[in-house]
């Protein structure tokens, strides 16, 4: 039985920055490790950088939690190294990401009501 059936998305919140960024990087399409890293760097405007250990340590735990899965699909097999592993978000992973974004949004609403956002 997969862990996604035992654990609800709320149980996993708040996500660690690495898990959040990896889920976000895989929101649109499947990617291999280095492409995930580059996407995370772009999405965070260079403010969040992972080393290979954090990347694959997070991937390992995300696979165990069924947040992501390996995929055999290749965007363009001729352009890529066949030994690379590609990962994609699972439906459970998408739900967890959505729940985390909802949590951020709720916090933004609280901050807005307190005037903490200033001129943002």
């Amino acid at each position: 039985m997969s862990k996604s059936k035992q654990v609800s998305e709320k149980d996993l919140l708040p996500l660690t920055p690495a898990v959040f960024h990896i889920l976000l990087a895989l929101a649109a399409e499947e990617k291999h490790g280095y492409a995930i890293m580059k996407e995370v760097e772009v999405n965070s405007k260079g403010q969040f950088r992972m080393g290979p250990g954090t990347l694959y340590g997070s991937i390992k735990r995300m696979l165990e939690l069924s947040l992501i899965e390996e995929t055999d699909e290749r965007p363009d097999p001729e352009m890529d190294d066949q030994r690379r592993r590609y990962y994609k978000q699972t439906p459970f992973g998408a739900k967890v990401l959505k729940a985390e974004l909802q949590r951020f949004n709720d916090l933004m609403q609280v901050a807005k009501s307190k005037g903490a956002l200033g001129s943002i």
């Binding site: 490790g33 280095y34 890293m37 950088r49 992972m50 080393g51 290979p52 250990g53 954090t54 990347l55 694959y56 340590g57 991937i59 390992k60 190294d81 030994r83 690379r84 592993r85």
Partner: protein
């Protein structure tokens, strides 16, 4: 990165460091981590040596953190031989950590890419505590492995030397984590005295290693570690007593060279220690 692109030469060293991870994790993800690191270096090398060093700095800190995490998650089951094998990597890693400390000494002469007044120096200093801790842990395994070939006096000398650097490492890391008062005036004097005692121990070990050929190679590296820093301090003291003010470039250059020699020396010792253990394993395949 495509497969036909030649990897950066330092990727091989990272590949060796990946052996620090638990075996199951390494077998599952090790090659992919090396591939990602090679890709990172490939991109960084287009932007020059500084970008390459930045990638290495991030990867090293990441490696130490995640190795501990993976062992903590899997539960640590360690035999004497796996601990001594790990120790050889810790010495190499400790040596590698001394290199940014050395690099930081040149801060004031180079343009600062991060914008702070002495940020490279500050970053370099952050590596010092972990470098000393890694060396102290690595030396524990070293004593365990070679202890039977060392006299009680040399062993005692090494244990004192190791206790000193271990204490300095813990205090250094505590200082970096702001666990100690910031204006700790005598910390610098404690560091100098501690280093002199520690390195004296390493010099004594080096003489013994050269005489009895303790390691199968690089025995002279102990002197490479032990001698330059005390010489630097001694020359500095003489210069001060003679009321001569050396140029900052000369002073910092000497300081950087002594720290780089220390780093290089530990890398060589760690490598020789590793090779000795591999050789023994090959000679005793049934063990």
């Amino acid at each position: 990165m495509k497969l036909d692109v030649k990897p950066h030469p330092s990727v091989a060293f990272y590949k060796t460091l990946v052996y620090l991870y638990p075996k199951a994790y390494r077998q599952e993800y090790g090659s992919h981590m090396v591939q990602v690191f090679a890709d990172l270096l490939h991109d960084a090398s287009r932007n020059g040596a500084r970008s390459v060093m930045q990638v290495w700095a991030i990867a090293l800190l990441d490696l130490v953190k995640t190795v501990i995490e993976e062992y903590a998650r899997g539960g640590i089951r360690m035999t004497k031989s796996s601990f001594t094998l790990l120790s050889s990597f810790l010495l190499m890693l400790g040596g590698l950590f001394w290199l940014p400390v050395s690099y930081g000494q040149f801060e004031q002469y180079w343009e600062d890419p991060f914008g702070g007044p002495d940020i490279l120096f500050e970053i370099g200093q952050k590596f010092m505590g972990p470098a000393m801790l890694l060396v102290a842990l690595g030396l524990l395994g070293f004593v365990l492995h070679y202890g039977s070939r060392l006299s009680s006096l040399i062993k005692a000398n090494l244990i004192i030397s190791n206790s000193i650097i271990g204490t300095m490492a813990v205090l250094g890391i505590a200082g970096d984590l702001m666990l100690l008062p910031k204006t700790w005036e005598w910390a610098w004097y404690f560091f100098i005295v501690g280093m002199i005692i520690h390195l004296t121990g390493i010099i004594i070990l080096g003489i013994c290693a050269l005489r009895c050929q303790l390691l199968t190679r690089f025995n002279v590296a102990f002197l490479l570690i032990g001698l330059p820093f005390p010489i630097y301090m001694f020359v500095g003291l003489i210069v001060q007593l003679m009321h001569i003010t050396p140029s900052s470039a000369l002073n910092d250059g000497f300081s950087a060279a002594s720290l780089a020699a220390m780093g290089l020396g530990w890398i060589l010792i760690g490598y020789a220690f590793f090779k000795d253990q591999i050789m023994i394993k090959k000679l005793q395949p049934s063990l």
